[in-house]
């Protein structure tokens, strides 16, 4: 069974993730920009980039809503399985980035964490590591109105710079992850950015610009738009989110809201609502609440 481990403590997992990302970036199975409705010349779309399009397509439903965690669990597991196939290793487990551990460092030290070494994520084109323009070009990117466009450029990050009004942010702290574990219930009305509960806390809206959201802001560049799965760091962030969710469920029970009968919630957010995938059959949140027989984490200490 795959064990998902800390990318900074498991060199084999790190190497396989980089190898798998490059393999899926170079894998073309016949899907094209035209079939996805993306304007411009009809070009093949790699398996890696199909995840970019998938994420962009569901921006309005899979974020700032109860299915944020189950939706990304499905995405992660799908990628994990495709990497298993690509590198011929059925026991490969996606690594995670324990960003709150780096968040305990002083800000200059956060920039030199080993995750940015060239044998890991690299720091984009200024020190590209494995994800060079030649091997890992960004081919699909959102424009300012959120629509997908074809591009051909290197991966971009602005690590630690932030955005206007949130300058020079720190990565999230351990105090925030600890607080998230005690947040109850899983989610609550109005089931969006204003909800008080675990999901909205761990997503990073309450308090604003924390945890998952803050990692996107801190990395910056291609991690800011809806096409953030362009960056391999995206999956390391979400794998850590999934780990925090697993820790929360271990502590508080494998519960999910809204149920099938909770008043006032959208049908698409309920526990038995199917989540569509371009890589296979639809899966519901109920089906992914307990995947402890499918993969585990090396530790649930967050």
């Amino acid at each position: 069974m795959p064990v998902r481990s800390n990318i900074l403590n498991d060199a084999a997992s790190r190497q396989k993730y980089v190898q798998g990302a490059l393999a899926l970036k170079a894998q073309f199975t016949g899907v094209t920009t035209q079939s996805l409705g993306i304007p411009g010349p009809n070009r093949p779309v790699s398996t890696w980039d199909r995840f970019v399009a998938w994420h962009s397509a569901v921006m309005g439903t899979a974020h700032s809503s109860p299915i944020f965690l189950p939706w990304h669990r499905i995405m992660l597991r799908t990628l994990e399985r495709l990497i298993q196939q690509a590198i011929n290793d059925p026991n490969f487990g996606l690594p995670y980035w324990d960003w709150a551990a780096d968040g305990q460092l002083a800000r200059p030290a956060q920039l030199t964490s080993a995750i940015w070494n060239n044998n890991c994520m690299g720091s984009a084109a200024s020190a590209p590591g494995a994800f060079t323009l030649a091997a890992f070009p960004v081919r699909l990117a959102s424009n300012n109105s959120g629509a997908l466009a074809q591009v051909n450029r290197a991966l971009q990050r602005t690590r630690g710079v932030g955005v206007p009004g949130i300058s020079n942010p720190s990565l999230p702290k351990k105090a925030s992850t600890a607080a998230a574990l005690t947040a109850l219930p899983y989610d609550a009305s109005p089931w969006n950015r204003n909800a008080v509960g675990f999901r909205n806390r761990v997503e990073g809206w309450n308090p604003p610009n924390d945890l998952h959201n803050l990692v996107h802001i801190w990395v910056g560049g291609d991690m800011l738009p809806a096409t953030s799965p362009n960056d391999p760091v995206f999956y390391l962030n979400h794998c850590n989110e999934d780990r925090i969710w697993e820790a929360w469920m271990t502590r508080n029970g494998r519960t999910y809201l809204p149920t099938a009968t909770t008043p006032g919630a959208q049908a698409a957010h309920r526990i038995n609502a199917p989540i569509q995938s371009p890589f296979g059959a639809a899966v519901t949140p109920a089906q992914v609440l307990n995947l402890s027989s499918v993969y585990t984490y090396d530790t649930l200490s967050v």
Binding site: A57, Q84, V163, P164, G165, I166, N194, L224
Partner: protein, 168 residues
């Protein structure tokens, strides 16, 4: 549970598809993609804009509804994307779905920083917090900017002016 073996064939997605892999299937083939291609194409091409942001609370027996509409232009051109407001007053936008901005002006600055190719160079002298072209950690000798840059041609002088009119 025992995995099915296929000694005479290369390992395939089917060979990996045992019950221990759980309920989430993963098949990158074109055939699987085509099964719900229309659904995802509709999502990708059906993005809508121009909605009001609506906040509602019940307070001391009263039901309060606050509708917010943003009318944003950049260089005189409409900025056609949905902006919303949280109950805490932070402004958000689906183009950068993970950020809560303290103001719409900060949000528009971030839009210009994040999508520089779509707004040109600007007039310059954008104030103390004008952080340059905000284009990430990369040089200009290792990539091109894709078809959008190629089409732009000569740079015309533009007025970098973003106005946000917020009605509550």
């Amino acid at each position: 549970m025992a995995r099915k073996t296929a000694p005479t064939r290369r390992r395939s997605a089917a060979a990996l598809d045992t019950s221990s892999t759980g309920p989430i299937s993963a098949d990158a083939s074109l055939a699987t993609a085509q099964q719900n291609a229309a659904y995802f194409k509709k999502l990708l091409t059906g993005m809508t804009h121009g909605h009001d942001s609506v906040r509602e609370i019940d307070y001391k027996g009263h039901h309060v509804v606050v509708k917010t509409t943003y009318d944003v232009t950049i260089d005189g051109k409409p900025f056609q994307a949905d902006l919303g407001v949280t109950n805490g007053g932070d402004v958000h936008y689906h183009g950068m779905p993970n950020v809560a901005f303290a103001s719409a002006l900060d949000l528009v600055k971030a839009v210009i920083d994040t999508f520089p190719n779509e707004f040109g160079k600007g007039k310059g002298g954008g104030g103390a917090d004008d952080g340059g072209h905000g284009h990430g950690e990369h040089g200009h000798d290792d990539h091109n900017h894709g078809p959008m840059m190629a089409r732009r041609g000569t740079r015309k002088k533009r007025v970098a002016r973003a106005t946000a009119r917020r009605r509550r």
